[in-house]
Amino acid sequence: MISGILKDRRSALIVLIIIAIVAMSLISPYFLQINNLLTLLQYSAVVGVLALGQVMVILGGGGGIDLSIGSTMSLSSVVFGLAAVNYGLSPWIAAVIALVAGAGFGTINGLLITMLNLPPLIVTLGTMYLYSSLAQVLAGGVDITGFDREGFRTIGQMSVAGVPFQVLCILLPLGAVMAFVTRRTAFGRNVYAVGSNDVAARLAGVPVTRTRISLYAISGGTAALGAVITASWLLNAKSTAGVGLELQAITIAVLGGAAITGGIGRISGTLLALVLVAVLNNGLQLAGVGSTYQIGLLGAVLIISMLVRARGQSKTLVA
């Protein structure tokens, strides 16, 4: 039992988070202040939402990965902006449209991958170009501003009992829902079954194709959610909203214990990995270490976490 706990990626993450918090509070006296901790949380919301979508795709196996998640976010952001500004819709309705659109962009990925049996890496590479470029084209390269802001800024800017709204009312509920869905519903069971062995799953009556398509739709939907949060927070719809976020989302998912081969990983692990990354980023920011160094540290964390994993698991012949 104890060895089970120790082997679990999540306990390792908790230890890491504690060490990181101690180290960061030694480095910067401001780190442990309530304000800062809340700020820290606030920034994790967008990338956290994306990582949750990414981890679902990875769990589904079959080389599942979504490189287009950042671009989908940009494109959904533009869809939001166009709906709210050019068509003058209420931002709330525009947000719903953006979510549907995001899920649609994800579904396109899913259909291409499952129907044509294409490698997810390449399909989402293609749509990564496609979506980000479409976002730029549709927006004419600039940000879309001028939608009705009152009320809508709640998502991005208000806080409830001091906790940012986007964390308390979006990220955490989404995490909880996903944790519930993956562990307690037939769909979640299907996801793990498909990720574990898709042939066996199919023969056991699991709808493999439908499950995988849904995962990409979810990933697209979370990207759109990220876009809505960003739009509400910055009060403009950026055509480059998601640039570079795919790397962070993948890193957090893998760091959280999701095996890139599918079938292994927990939502709680992803959330813990998110906290760790947020603590490291924020601490370094406070210590005056530039954000480029944070990117490098993220890369190192990713590789080291894989090393720990690779030791325990059998080596594969093929990359």
Binding site: A12, N35, T39, T240, G283, Y293
Partner: protein, 342 residues
């Protein structure tokens, strides 16, 4: 488990090392944490558009000079890439570090607003410098030169090189940077008013990095063989455009000017690939910004004309727009660029 803890130690050690040797773009004059030795407790900061490019290094030099003169603590930081989201994060981080006054050069005037208001309501004095956020609650905008002056100056420079006639192109930075767009608009207005024989061809080419700027410039020259000049907008585009002219053996045939720091342009001013570059004395801008922040902290109102101790010329203040204006743009050429260290 041992391995995981080992890995943890490694990661944290890396982080701490990074933090310890932060000879990184952020720099702090004075000792921020303990000693108040000689300096007062005033802490001011500036958030640049992008970390550590020569331009903002020059800004820092000026800012640090002012901080030393005024005996206050000055910190300058900024995102690694020109990313407005990142900028907002950095600003929020500074607010939670309880700075007394913060100046920002916003990449995007809209998205920074809410953070600026939050900072203002947390009691932090807020200014914009180098670029403005007109709708925000900033107390003052420290302007290097007006957009109009910059735009028309660069157009005059180009027209001079092209004898006021012929085709020219514009290679800009990323499409969503407001300042660039304002300068370009001003330049275009100047051309339409003053140089009817000149013609903008190929539209405005937006680029994200030097390599792309190079390619865009090269393709412009191919598409328009009669092209006589190019305006290159930010410091990332300048080396690309100038290199394209150099690579294409077009020195003397295609004139290049633009908005770039003299050090970035120096190489090309020497080779003749660039005729001039238009900017302002950014060290002075940094100096003025820190001075203004200190004025805000000490709650000293600005006069219509201010004598700033470290600057040669008086600085005018426009009450209506709450803008401090450094002065006219500076034109850097082969002859004078070496005098500037940014």
């Amino acid at each position: 488990m041992k391995k995981i803890t080992g890995a943890a130690a490694l990661i944290i050690a890396g982080a701490v090392t990074l933090a310890a040797c932060s000879n990184t773009p952020t720099s702090t004059t004075g000792s921020p944490d303990q000693t108040g030795s000689g300096s007062s407790d005033v802490k001011v900061a500036f958030v640049s558009q992008v970390e550590g490019i020569p331009y903002f290094n020059g800004f820092k030099t000026g800012g640090e000079r002012a901080a030393a003169d005024l005996s206050i603590t000055y910190t300058q930081t900024g995102p690694a890439k020109a990313d407005s989201t990142e900028q907002v994060k950095i600003l929020d981080g500074l607010v939670s570090q309880q700075y007394d006054a913060i100046a920002v050069s916003p990449l995007d005037p809209t998205s920074i607003n809410s953070s600026l208001s939050a900072a203002a309501s947390a009691g932090v004095k807020i200014a914009t410098s180098d670029a403005d956020a007109p709708e925000s609650e900033r107390a003052v905008f420290v302007s290097q030169a007006s957009d109009e002056a910059l735009g028309s100056t660069v157009m005059d420079e180009l027209a001079k090189a092209m004898d006021g006639t012929g085709q020219f192109g514009i290679v800009s930075g990323s499409a969503d940077t407001a300042t660039f767009n304002n300068w370009i608009a001003a330049a275009q207005a100047q051309q339409e008013a003053e140089y009817p024989d000149m013609e903008l061809v190929g539209g405005i080419r937006y680029t994200t990095d030097t390599a792309q700027a190079l390619q865009e410039a090269q393709n412009l020259m191919t598409a328009f063989p009669d092209l006589k000049g190019i305006i290159a907008v930010p410091s990332t585009a300048i080396p690309g455009v100038a290199q394209a002219v150099q690579n294409g053996d077009a020195i003397g045939r295609v004139a290049v000017t633009g908005f770039g720091s003299p050090q970035t342009s120096g190489e090309f001013l020497e080779s003749g690939a660039m005729t001039s570059t238009v900017l302002w004395d950014v060290e002075d801008l940094g100096y003025l910004t820190v001075w203004a922040l200190n004025q805000l902290v000490t709650e000293t109102p600005f006069e219509a004309t201010n004598e700033v101790p470290g600057l040669d010329q008086p600085v005018s203040y426009d009450e209506a727009t709450k803008t401090l204006l450094l002065g006219e743009p500076t034109v850097f050429t082969k002859d004078n660029y070496a005098d500037y260290d940014f």
